[in-house]
Each structure stands twice: as C-alpha cells, then as structure tokens.
C-alpha cells in the first residue's frame, strides 16, 4: 500500500517533469509528423506496387505508419527514455544515492518510465496520429472494444520496452563506456520493432525470427490489434506473447540488478 503510493508519486513526478520540456515536445511532434509524411508516401508507393503486402491493404499500411510515429517516443526505440539517465548515474556514481534509499531500483525506474511514456503517449502521440487522420484515410476501428484491446497491448509493449532498456542500462555497471551497447540496442530495436517496415512483410526465417523477438511486442503487436488483425483467441495469444517477454525480461533484469549491486563498485568520491 505504502509502496504503491511511493511509485505512484515517482510516476507522477516523471510525468510532470517531461511536461516541463515544452520545446522538446513540440520539436518531437514536428519531427514525428514530417517523418510520418515521408514514410506514408513511401508506403503508398510500395503498396501500389505490391497490393496486400504483408496482409495489409493500403489504408492499413498508412495507419501503421502513423501509429508507429505516435508510439515512437513512448516506446523509446530511438532512446530518450530513462536509460540515458540511469547509465549516466552509474557512470558518474550518482547511483549511490539511488542505492541507499529504501526503494527498489527496478521498480523506481519502471515507475519513472511509466510516467514518462504516459506523457509521451499524450504529448507526442496524439497530434501526429490526428494529423495523419486528417490528411489520409486511416483504417481505425469504430468500436471502443478494439481501442481498449489496443491500449492493453500498448501497456504490455511499454513493459517489454522498459525491460529491454533496463537490461541494456545495467550493463553500464560492467562496461563504463557502454555507449556502444546502447547504440546496438537502438539499431536492433528500430528494425525488429517494425518501426521501419511492418514485420509481417518479411518472408521466411527472417520474418519468423523478427516476429518472435521481444521487440515485436512494442509496435507490431499493438498495431495488429488496432488494425483488427487479432481478435478472439489470437488476441489472447498476442497478449500472452507480450506478457511472457515482459515477465521474462523483468526477471532477468532483477537478477542482473542484484549481481550488479552486490559485486560491482559505485564510482566516484
């Protein structure tokens, strides 16, 4: 109960903190919108050439683009989440402060990232999506049930996203120059989340692999739910897939965390 209030406060603080970055938010919305336009016209050309590619029709493909732009900041595939800050704290030794507090490190950062992504869903997600809806014909569901199902998939996707980034950030305890690992993770995330192209357009083994990796829980899974491709049993399978990765990766994160804080040294005087 008391713990719950603490982490709610952390999440609320993170939300308000990101809300203070007004210029960054406006710039981000602009970038997402421009990028969305470029990608949308590219997809339209592509789907003209290959109608029904990946099982999507053209308006589904365009919807996918704007959905991707809307979720980009929230799922933080290009970075910009809590992890930059955590890595910096490990590097400078400020992590010392997080460690002597009576709070759990993973829960703390999870709460902070929930607050951040909640803000970015609203602040960075809604405008590009609405813009896309004005300029293009989007294949959006009319029933509230599908939207609700979509939101659940987004939340699960955010959890998986957090779990991956937490693991990457903890590596900074061992590799003080961890920028390389982080860049690699961003690259993998950009491709395997389906942010560049929907994962269901990839044929064969590569497609199978991409759809089985945790990153597909970030965008591909929520997109398929919103586009009405997952209903009934398939919907539950999608949830189970996302939840399994979330639980698994969070558990690994806990193990790495306890190894890190027990064995590894806090930097600086």
């Amino acid at each position: 109960m008391g713990t719950w209030r603490l982490y709610t406060a952390v999440a609320a603080g993170a939300f308000r903190r990101y809300a203070t970055y007004r210029v960054a938010t406006a710039a981000g919305v602009f970038t997402n919108t421009v990028f969305g336009l470029i990608l949308a016209y590219t997809y339209i050309a592509l789907w003209d050439e290959r109608p029904g590619l990946g099982g999507y029709d053209q308006s589904q493909a365009v919807t996918y683009v704007w959905l991707g732009q809307g979720l980009l900041a929230a799922v933080a595939v290009m970075g910009g989440g809590f992890e930059d800050e955590l890595i910096e704290r490990i590097r400078t030794g400020d992590i010392a402060i997080d460690l002597y507090r009576p709070a759990d490190l993973q829960m703390w950062w999870l709460a902070a990232d929930v607050g951040r992504s909640a803000f970015q869903l609203l602040g960075r997600g809604v405008v590009p999506m609405a813009f896309g809806g004005l300029v293009f014909h989007l294949a959006l569901p009319a029933d509230a049930g599908t939207w609700l199902a979509f939101l659940v998939a987004v939340v699960l996707g955010l959890l998986v996203s957090f779990a991956i980034r937490y693991l990457v950030a903890l590596l900074a305890f061992w590799f003080m120059d961890g920028a390389g690992v982080q860049q690699l993770a961003v690259l993998a995330g950009l491709f395997f989340s389906g942010m560049t192209l929907p994962l269901n357009v990839f044929p064969g083994a590569l497609g199978e692999l991409a759809r089985a990796l945790p990153w597909s829980a970030l965008l591909q899974a929520p997109a398929d739910v919103l586009l009405g491709e997952r209903t009934g049993f398939a919907l539950w399978r999608t949830y189970a897939f996302q939840a399994a990765w979330a639980v698994g990766l969070l558990a690994v994160g806990r193990m790495v965390q306890s190894a890190a804080t027990r064995r590894v040294v806090v930097q600086g005087g």
Partner: protein, 337 residues
C-alpha cells in the same frame, strides 16, 4: 509501518552492545583496478582504499572524519550506508550489517553527499520532499512537523516552489540536508557538506548541524576539508590517510601532535625587510605583503597588536592551518619518533 523508535534497539541483534551506535572492527575495502596497458591487454592492480580501520561512535556524538584526497573517507561512508560491501572486517550500524540489510538500515540513516544531490532536478524542491514522505513512509503529522522545522532553520521557505536546477549550490545543499532529515534518522552521514559554499552558507549549515545534534540528539559523522567545520562542530575528530586511521581524539590534540601553524598575512604600506616579531616567523615576502607563521594554539590578537605597534600596517588576514599540512606534519612526526 512506523518509523524508528529507541525501543527498536532492544530488539536488535545481541551485537548492538553498549552505546556503540556505529562500530567498525578491522574494516577493509580493496578495489580491483584494471589499467589498460595496450590493445586488449590490461594490468590488474589492487587499491586498498580502507585498510583495517576500527572505531566506534556512540549515540549522540558528532564526529569529524578528515584526511587528504583519496584517503578513504567517502569509501568508509559508502560502506556505512551499505552501498559498498567491505572486503574484510566487521561493521555494524545500529546493530545492522549495512550491506546485508541496506533497505532496513535506510530508514534509520540520513545521508548527504555534498557533490551529489538526492533532489529531483527538474521539479520544484517541495516535490522531492513529498517523495521522501512516501519513500520513508513518514506519518503525516511527523512529516509536516519536520518539514516546518527544516524550512525554518535552513531558510527554505522561498525555495520550495523553485525547480532544483535553478537553485544555487548553497541553496541546493540546504535543500539536500533537509531531504536527508525528514524521516528522523538516528544518524546523519555528511560527505563534504560545505564543499563550494561561501562563508555565510557554511555558517548556516554549521549552525543547523549544531542544533540538530544538540536538540534532536542525532548522531553525526562528517567529512570535510575545511578544518573550521570541525573546530566549530566536533569535539572528536578522526584522521585517515591511505586508508588507515592515524588519529582519533579531540581536535586540540591533533594540533599538538601536528604542531600545526596558522598563517597571518599582513599588507604593509611599502616594501620592507621581513618583520621581526616574537613567536612568529616570516615564511614568505611578496612586495609589501608578508606571510607569518605562528602556532595554531596561540591567539592572533597580541601578535597583530605587536606588529601594528612597530610597522605601518594596512591590512591583514588570518589563514587557518589546512588539513593537508596538519596531516603531513603528523606523518613527519611519526617518522621521527
């Protein structure tokens, strides 16, 4: 869950004996340092940051913990909070082994690292305090009372709604000290709480710490490079160098052992030969300015009077002995005796 009470001590493990609130027995910390010596090659070296240190601090004491850069002060404090595990020896705070039960201990200790902040950088100061309220599960009335007291004594009223990143260093430090005390810790560790502060801010911080120790009975362990902090606050001082405890006793004793000297800087009207005066010697001359060393235990007033009587004095200042000098003299003393 309620916060700590004194009765908790009775339920503590049997090793929480006597009045020793903090107890170290032969505590060591060895760091493995890897140094790159070439492509894919590195050399491993061990740094003994803390080398078999033993001391005890009683409840309610205010102790200074000093030593030159790299002596092992911060490392000791980190072990006392539980964020570093000792490589050897035995360490107890309130009967608790810090690194094993870090979270349990956290409710009973307060920590201020002068060079870091516990405050939320982008948000108003008050938000950080609300977070402490939740984090330490401080009862509402207790929280309100403690916050009021800190706000008054540390003069934070005008700062509560200011984002932390807009605070000056001195303001932030006061903010951090308040944040460490809202949960009524039994002991407060301060690692260089006056670093970078001006004279007025330093005085405020000292005054507050004195009050805290006297009124609340909070045990205080303080590291600093400013000997004035120690002079004004601590009856007892511990000196550490190269990870070893060199001295543990009253500050006056340290001056005697170190034969430490203060420096009187005088500006004369014009360039003159070195001043000749009883119980002080000129150590440096630069134009009309001269530096005189005199025993730290001796008052500066008669010395100034004697110089003023015989020389055309324009201005003067007194410099306290710096801790490095005191310690290096202590070393020399050890080597010869």
């Amino acid at each position: 869950m309620d916060t700590q009470t004194d009765t908790q001590k009775d339920f503590g493990p049997a090793d929480d004996h006597g009045d020793d609130f903090i107890r170290l027995d032969g505590v060591e910390k060895v760091f493995d340092v890897r140094k790159k010596t070439g492509f894919m090659r590195s050399e491993r070296r061990q740094v003994r940051a803390v080398d078999s240190i033993s001391f005890a601090v009683a409840r309610g004491e205010m102790v200074g913990y000093i030593g030159p850069n790299g002596a092992g002060k911060s490392t000791t404090i980190k072990m006392l909070t539980g964020i570093l595990t000792p490589s050897g020896g035995r360490l107890r705070v309130a009967g608790i082994d810090p690194s094993r039960e870090r979270t349990r201990l956290a409710h009973r200790i307060g920590v201020v690292f002068g060079q870091r902040t516990t405050l939320w950088w982008d948000l108003p100061l008050i938000d950080s305090y609300r977070l402490m309220h939740r984090m330490y599960r401080i009862p509402d009335a207790r929280y309100a009372e403690n916050l009021d007291r800190c706000v008054e004594l540390l003069e934070l009223a005008e700062l509560l709604d200011v984002p932390v990143r807009q605070l000056s260093l001195g303001q932030r430090m006061r903010g951090d000290i308040a944040a460490a005390l809202l949960h009524d810790p039994e002991v407060l560790y301060l690692d260089e709480p006056t670093i970078g502060l001006d004279v007025i801010s330093k005085a405020k911080v000292r005054e507050f710490l004195r009050h805290l120790n006297a009124e609340q009975g909070t045990t205080v362990l303080l590291t600093t490079h400013d000997l004035t902090d120690i002079e004004q606050l601590c009856r007892r001082v511990m000196v550490i160098d190269h990870g070893r405890l060199m001295y543990d006793g009253p500050l006056t004793g340290l001056h005697e052992i170190g034969e430490s000297e203060r420096t009187l800087v005088v500006d004369l009207e014009r360039e003159l030969p070195p001043i000749e005066v009883e119980s002080a010697r000129v150590v440096k001359v630069e134009g009309p300015r001269q530096w005189l060393a005199f025993p730290a235990a001796q008052s500066a007033a008669p010395l100034v009077a004697r110089i003023a009587a015989a020389y055309p004095l324009v201005d003067l200042s007194v410099r306290e002995p710096d801790i490095e000098a005191v310690i290096s003299r202590m070393y020399a003393e050890k080597a010869t005796s």
